[in-house]
Structures are given as C-alpha cells and as structure tokens.
Symmetry: D2
Subunit: 332 residues, 4 copies
Amino acid sequence: MDVLEYTPTRDQYVYTFGGAVPALRIKPGTALRLWSDDAFGGALRSVEDLSSAKVDLRFVNPQTGPFYVEGAQAGDALVLHMVALEPARDWGASATIPFFGGMTSTDRTVSLQSALPDTTWIYELDRARNTVAFAARHSDHRIELPVEPMLGTVGVAPAGNEVRSSLVPERFGGNMDAPQVRAGATVFLGVNVEGAMFSIGDGHYRQGEGEACGTAVEGAMTSTVIVELVKGGAPAWPRIEDDSHWMTVGSSRPMEDSWRIGNAELVHWVAELYGLHTMDAYQLVSQVAQVPVANVVDANYSVVVKVAKALLPPAEAFDGIHADLRSRARLL
Amino acid sequence: MDVLEYTPTRDQYVYTFGGAVPALRIKPGTALRLWSDDAFGGALRSVEDLSSAKVDLRFVNPQTGPFYVEGAQAGDALVLHMVALEPARDWGASATIPFFGGMTSTDRTVSLQSALPDTTWIYELDRARNTVAFAARHSDHRIELPVEPMLGTVGVAPAGNEVRSSLVPERFGGNMDAPQVRAGATVFLGVNVEGAMFSIGDGHYRQGEGEACGTAVEGAMTSTVIVELVKGGAPAWPRIEDDSHWMTVGSSRPMEDSWRIGNAELVHWVAELYGLHTMDAYQLVSQVAQVPVANVVDANYSVVVKVAKALLPPAEAFDGIHADLRSRARLL
Amino acid sequence: MDVLEYTPTRDQYVYTFGGAVPALRIKPGTALRLWSDDAFGGALRSVEDLSSAKVDLRFVNPQTGPFYVEGAQAGDALVLHMVALEPARDWGASATIPFFGGMTSTDRTVSLQSALPDTTWIYELDRARNTVAFAARHSDHRIELPVEPMLGTVGVAPAGNEVRSSLVPERFGGNMDAPQVRAGATVFLGVNVEGAMFSIGDGHYRQGEGEACGTAVEGAMTSTVIVELVKGGAPAWPRIEDDSHWMTVGSSRPMEDSWRIGNAELVHWVAELYGLHTMDAYQLVSQVAQVPVANVVDANYSVVVKVAKALLPPAEAFDGIHADLRSRARLL
Amino acid sequence: MDVLEYTPTRDQYVYTFGGAVPALRIKPGTALRLWSDDAFGGALRSVEDLSSAKVDLRFVNPQTGPFYVEGAQAGDALVLHMVALEPARDWGASATIPFFGGMTSTDRTVSLQSALPDTTWIYELDRARNTVAFAARHSDHRIELPVEPMLGTVGVAPAGNEVRSSLVPERFGGNMDAPQVRAGATVFLGVNVEGAMFSIGDGHYRQGEGEACGTAVEGAMTSTVIVELVKGGAPAWPRIEDDSHWMTVGSSRPMEDSWRIGNAELVHWVAELYGLHTMDAYQLVSQVAQVPVANVVDANYSVVVKVAKALLPPAEAFDGIHADLRSRARLL
C-alpha cells in the first residue's frame, strides 16, 4: 500500500471543522502520512514566549486537512486507523494561558479574580530514551516522562452546516483531547457531509487525563493514518476501538452530560455487539466500564467510557474492520 | 498484632455519618475485622425481590461502626489501611432502582418521563475461580467477571455538627464508590470531631467506574483494616495511597466541580511532596494525572485524580505510613 | 390571637436544621414574634470588621428555633405565614468572604487563583425613608435603596436523620435565600420528623436575585409568623403562595437541576390545582412561568419557579389556607 | 424615516448565524420591517401535525437575514432597537418535541427512558382582546393568555469563522429566548465580522421564562427594527437596555456558568456606567440584580441579569443611544 504524504504550508492551516475547502481528495483505503503543527502553531519556542503575547484562542489547533473522502455521505462511518504517531520536533511546549484551563476561572466559569501567571514550559525530547523532560520554572526540578504520542483533535465537518472552532469537541469529534487516540487505535466518526471532510491536529507528546492546565506537551506530529469508510454505519458520537477496549466519547457540559452521552453510547454498542437487551447491557456496563476523563478545559468537556474486551466474549464491530486495519498497518 | 472482630446486629446498623454513638472505642494501631451488610441490607436475594418494594433510599448502605479512635481530634488525619476485603456471601445483588442511577432522570435531574423497569440481577460468586457471574434477565447470556472487592463507603463524622446519609460522598469521605478503596490501599480522612467516628460499608464484589446503574455488585463484606492516626495531618479532602499511586477524591456537583476539587488537592499534594511551586505542580500534574470517574449517581458525584508513583521521583507522604502499614499488614 | 415572643440568647443560637432540642413547643395556629440575629451573628459591625477574622462558615446563619409543632408528623405540610418582617437593627452588613460567593472560585468550584479582597460594607437604615444606604468602599458613591425585608432561611428538620448546616438549602427548605419569603407570603414545607422542628433566620434587609457576592444586606430581624399544619399535605419540595403567585423552589447543583426540580413541582401543582393532564400542565407552565434565581452561592443553588395567579382561573391550594392566614394576620 | 421591508421566500430562509450571504446591505440608521416565519417554518398548523414527522431540529428557527450593515467591523457594537413586534398570523403553535425540552432527557442529558408523548398545541390569536388561547389536549380547559410578543433569536455572525445553528445562543446572541427582547428594547451585540451579518427570527407570541417544554407560542412575526452602530463599542456578551432596566445575557452550560457570565458582565457595566470600583459594583449588583432565567432548553442555557434603572442614579450607556432610538421610533 502506498502512503500519501501531506504537509500543509502555514497558509494552508485550517482552524475549523467544516467551512474549508479540501486539502486533498482521497479514496477509502488510502494511507496518509500527515504533518501537523502544534496547538500554538509553533509560536511558543522558549519559556520567554508567553501565550498572552503569541496565542489567539480563536486560532489554535491548526488542522491538517480537511480531506475529502470519495464516496462518503451523511450516515456513513468514517474510519481512521492510527498507524503511527511520531514527534516531528525535538521539543514540546505547554503553557498556562490566562483564563484558560481547569484550575482557573475562564470566559465561561467567570470570576472577578486575577489570572494565574502566564507561564510557558518547554519539554525537550530525548528520542533515544523516548522521554520528554519536565523542567520546573520555579526550582531546579527536572523529571523525565515517557513520550506517549496522541492526537488532541480528529474530526469531521459538523451537521447542519455548522462550522466549529478546532478548539471544540462535539458529536463530530474535534478537540476531544483523548489520550486513547494513539497508535493502534481506530476512530469511528459519523459522516455529516459529502466527503466527510476530516482533519487532524493538536499532537501531544504526552498528556494527563483532564488536560488540567489546558495544554498538553504540545508538539508537531507526523501521523500515519489509514482511512476507511463503512457505508451506513454512522455512530451518533465518536467511537474508538483498539486491541484491548471498546470506547465511546461524550463531549458536552456539564461533565455529567458528557458522561451520560458516552455511557449511553457504550450501553447501546454493547447491546448491539452481544445481542443484549438494553437493560441487561446497562447492568453489564455498570459493572465493567472504565471512565477516564479526557479533558475538562475545552469548550466542551470530554469523557471516555470504555470496556476491556478481555472481560467480554469475543465480538466484532463494523465487520471487524479494526483487526483488518491492524493487519494492513503492519504492511506499511 | 491482634485483630479485633466486630459484626453488627441488624439493630446496630447505622445509616449516617455522624449522629451515632460509637460501636467500639479503639486505640490507633488497632487492626479490625469488620463484617458489613450489603447496600440493600440484604433485602435483594433473588431476581424476584424488587427495589421498589424492598429498598428505602433513605436507609441504604448500612454502616459498620462508627468507631471512636482514641486521641483523634479535629485537624488530625485518620488513616485506614485496607488489609483485606473478602466477600462474606456467595452472591451479590444489583438493581435499577426507579429514578436512581445515571441513565435515568432522578429526584434532582427531574423529568416527566416514566421510570426505567425496576429490575434485579443476582451475581453468583465462584470462590474457586474468583468470579461473579452476570446473568442477563432478558436473554440467556452469562458472563463471568473477576471479583474485585472494594468498599463503596468509608467515612468519618462531618464537620459543623452535620449528620449525613450514608448515601452521600463529601469532604468527610462517605459514599465515594471509588474502586480504588481496595485491599492494599491506605485512605486518609480529615478528622472533624473527637474520636473521628469512622465507619465502613457498601461492599462491592466489583463495580465499573461511574457505577452507572446506581448499584454495583453489592455484597456483604469482611474487611480487615488497620487504623492509625497522624496528628495534625488532616487533608482537606480524602486522599488514598497504594503501592502504585497518589490519589485524591473530589465529591460534588456538577462533576467538573468534583474534578476541580480532586485536581487541586493533587496539585497541592504533589507540590508538597516534591517541594514544587504550585504553578510547576499544576503543570506537572497536567501531564501525568489519571482521572477515573468513581460515581455519577450518588448525592454527589465522585472523581478520583491520581498519579503513578513510577512517573515521579520517590517520595513519602504522612511520614511514610503507607509503607509501614503494608509491612504491618503482612504480619497479621 | 396572642403572639408568643421568643428571642434566643447567644448560647441558644442553632446552626443546623435537625439535631437540636426544641426552643419551644407550640400548637398549630400559634402566632410567633421571633428575633433572629444576622447571618454573621452580629460580628460585622463596621467596615473594619473583616469576615476572614470574624466569620466561620461552619457557623453562620444562626437559627431562631427550632420549634416543635404539636401534632406534626412526617407527611404533613408545615405552613408558615409571614405576617411581618421588621429590621431589628439600624444597620445591615454585607461582605465578600474569601472564596465564598458567585464571582469567585470557591471550595467547590476550586481554582488556584488568589481570593478577592475581603471587604465589608455597612448599610445604614433610614426608618423614615425605609431605605438602606449603599456606601462604596473605593469612592464616595452613596445610593439609597428600598428596604425589602426577607428571610434567607426557613426550614424544618431533614429526613433520614440528617442534620444540615444552616448554610444549606434543600428539600427541607433551609438557606434558600429567596426574596419571595417576605411579609404576606405563606411557606409550605414537608414535615419529616415528629414536631417538624422548624426554625428561621438569616434576615435580609434587601437582596438581589442570585445573592451574587454571597451575602445580602444581612440584618437582625423581628419576624411575625403564624404557624399552621395541613395533615398529610407534605409537598416534596418547598412551596410558597402569596396573593399574586404560586411558587416552588428547587435547590440543588448544577443550577439546571434546581430549575428542573422547581419546574416539575410547579407542573405537578398546576396539574393538581386545575385538574389538568400532566402534559397540558407542562405546556401551560411553559408559557406562563417566571423563573427568578434565588441564590447561586450557597451549598446548593436555589431557583424559584412561579406563575401569576392573575393569568390562571381562580384556584385554592391546601384548602385555601393562605387566604385564611391573610385574614388572621390582619387581626394580629 | 423610511422603513425598508423584507420578507424572505422559503428558499431564502437561513438556519445559521454566520455562513450565509447577505439578504440586504443596509446603512446604520435604517429602519427595517421584517417578516419572519415561526420556529417550525410553519410546519405545525394543527394538533394533528406532530413534530417528529414535520420538524428536523437541525433546521429550525429560520432566520430572516442576514443583513450586512455598512461600516460595521469587528469590535463595534451593533445596535438593534425593537420598535414593534406584531404577530403575522392568527395562530401560534407549541409542541413537546421528543427528547427536546426541559422536563425530558435530551441528546445531552441522555437517559435510557422513553420519550414524552409528541404533542402539539395550537393557540388561536384574538387580536381584539390581544390574547392567545391555551386549549388543553387532554381535557376541555381553555385559558386566554395575554399576547406578549418577543423574538427568540437575534444574533450576528460568530467570531473565528464559526457558523452556528440558529438553535444556539452564545456570545453572538442567537437563540437566547429572552422575553426581554420585545418592543421598546435595544439590543447591543458585539460585531465579529465585517458587516455584522445580523438576523432575527423565532418570534414568540408569548413565552414563560425557562421555555420549559422547549417551545414557546411560536408564531410568524412582523418586526420593526432600527439598526445602528457604535464604533468600537462591542460588548463581550449581549446587552439589552429598555426604559426600565440595564440587562446582560449569558448563555452557556451548566446554568451557573450562564449566570456567572451575565452577572460579571453586569458588574463591569455598572462599574463603567457609574465610575465604581469593581468590588463596589459587585456589592451593589448583589443587592439590586434581578435574574430571570430565559431558557433551560437550548444548546446553551440563557440567563438574563438585570437591574432596574429606578434603583440607581441616572446614567447613559453607549452615549444615550437607547433614548435617541426611542425618539426616532416614535416618528416612524
């Protein structure tokens, strides 16, 4: 299988889901190798670069894309298999943007208090050790942390002609900031418009669940992705499958609504996978689910609800496409 | 070390944190072996027993206790080390109580819709295989699941002379329904009243994160617990330490507030453990935290925020009492 | 009708709903004239008195009571008719307590930001003009505002043996901070324990809806109240009737849940008052309700949902007891 | 002053804020007379017309517009003075759309419960009496209610190239469903894009606060509006002024965040209008604000925070443009 490479120039960066012309038209089955800039568009390169000076929250998470998938129509499931996610720079950046993040008042959870200090951290990447180094700004602490690459954003064009900022996670995917979107995972998104118009970006060299300060170890990323399509298979909300888990993602506010969405989706999925009555699936999921929070800092909060395949009998979703994609990925 | 045994008679069941006379007075250092009934007081014994007929939500989670700890005063940390949690019956029960749980409107998230069907599931325990068996009510599915015993409730008397239902998780611990409260874990609770007056109950043979349907695999439990006291060490909110993680628990509503509490507590704890500036601890926690949701169904929602010790340099909390208790537990 | 007077001494102040011995035993039909101290227990008497030095949030809103109402049993409706609320001092106080209030992070909506300045305002009362004077602390502005006396707290002992801080609004009433609890209003509370054990306090000389800064123009109050009982008439949540409106109050978190409670209660009440089907009552209430927020700052947020009697056909609730109490009040 | 009339044909209906080509280009100072269809696009004309058959929630609230205002640039305040709102049909419609509204689970507050009955109510308009008639569907009740026309939606194109459904209230205005948007009111919206691109729609012949069932008495409307521009005066969130009140509107989730937004905006506005320190404005607003909930049913919940001008000294906002527009309106 060939791999199609695409690296956007800066003027090709896109800051929305929906509303942009396609970067490429591709056929289902295509493998893409995509370069994406970091959430800040590369603007924070040293601890002297402050987000208040260099970052406009209306234009973060530059997207690589959108890609028009031939044959994709509303009601289909777009399938994106993450083959590999590789740091494309030797450093990542994180910052506490004023009035943005989880431990501060924001433009929604408004207060009259002063902002926390606008601070930038630079994480050096050690490719040999596969670590990024946290270097404290107020003391000499330095802690090496494993690189665990993930994509903060992966989404399609929304329904109803909406166009949403790449800061938003929603039904269409988007800025879910879910660490589960990593190499080996297959993401299923409901298609809303002809061509699906998906894009990716917001690479993280690592991220804690919740993404508490509002930013991960943000880094440019080279992502290898195989694109597939399941006709008529659109899930209502994003689903993720990897070798070990069935997963759903809910993104809304307040956070219990995100959970309600994700949990109901998982109940319905388990009911369908195993031929269970909804009440039985509800009971079963209640005893086996894991619920890692993805982010509590974006325009919507995202919660992942998942169940280990090892706890349940064997099953196949979307005609077993995940296993098939894993095989194809090995041949790349 | 001797082990003090205590099994309450039915008229000794307590349904509140605070407001009850001590079951026993014990000295710090005591090991207890405690029998606790299940959340339903044993009322659901077959799938014919319906919660609407047999369960009054004002009187669930019967507590074993409270225990008066000599020398405990407001401002101290009560330390409860879970040595062993063992199922005390050969079956557990779960139920979808009308207008209670996460996938239904409730007495708070009110709607005008009809209740979901009041349904009971009985899980048979296989001690040899260490499993409980999910048996579907609407089909023939049967799935064996690993027993993973935990305590849904562990708490002390609240501050300010409050008395709270054993259905409530809060600053004083209580009905957190956190799967992390299992054998090998040490729970730290801030003492509010003389003697601390702690109790435990609500054993679960297993529970999914979120406890979606409102009830776990509820089962009577025999819990072996070593009780200690750290003078003057009261955490603001419950903390948990085990061999692998530092953990905090926030319980409030909406769920983002639970997270805010837990995350801020972990930031402060990490800052203190490692001598980091708060902003650096905030940054570090943002990249390493795990955030498993505990429950979205109780009077308050509970969120666990934790960090793997393996990611951080060695450190000791509360003068290393967890390691000490692990050693002592081995001698029991 | 005689009026029974009661003024607590300082050591008779009560800081909880439930958990206290009765101050008095009274018969239904009794008129009471009750003195209550302000929310701060009179601790803030000049702008030099700061809440951080003088106020402990576990012990605010000192209650006058509780009163044991003879014959009151769980399931009855306690009826409290507010005959007159009169300022008992010539000044009121307000303060921005650190990490308390609506425009700051709190102990629930936690952030890492610094607290707002701890500031006290003293409002002088002009009895002739019936005004209190706002005097700015940072400039010379002075604005006279009408006195509009109300009671922030009115509640009974909770169900299930709970004891709650007088800072809490809930199903049992409590710290609802609803400006609608004023002279001429009749409050209906579901009785949970023998004797009902009601208390009042937290007088406000005036308060904006939402009580944004966390405190109103707090003032000692002399309240004249007629106490009645409707056997078997317990509402699930507090209801208020005055000459112009039917009102319900929901208190929970997040605020939409407070609204859901209040709105569902009003739908059910309107259905019952007019013999309407629930769906028709839902439709009707949707077109006629007024929804003034009461507080967004207490342990629970309170929302009033009300409908103007003038919009609907004549009806009587609780056998017309409000009109009867209005008549009796005129004879006092 | 001339009045420019505009009635869209059905294929000119617009279902978004942003993303549409201008219907007209107008100069500041223009008076418009605009016809707008009802929220359902006129699809519910009898109680036999059910929303599940005739309404697609992605395409409701057809907008009349957008209008390009010459000279309007990002950072300006668009000023829309509501001169008159007149019912354009002799009936209005309301409906309980499945899984939409405040007393049901929704696509966000998900449950596994069944939907409420899909029901339509038709309100006949009596122009002589100026009433609409509620006719119960399950009994013979009929209640005449005063017509109180308002516009549910009034908004501009969003910032950051977003395009939002006309079901959404946000920073850009939109589907706020605030009864305060009525004849005599002046609405101030921050301009985000060249030309402002405002539109209106979703006329309500009357609506209760909260819009509990999700729909008001929805009706086609003829709106007379004078359009003005204040260069550089963009408020962060919508503001409304009428003869009696200063008002702000916050729209977010959970509802306390909507309130926080609106309340902070009012504090800042009052500080600016009267030259008060922020803390003094915070205190003052706390004692004088009124907080009527607008909607708890849309994609975001909207809360109005307002203060009566009569309580405060005289002041002028936006150079007194509201008074000026009132004068100009009288000359139409």
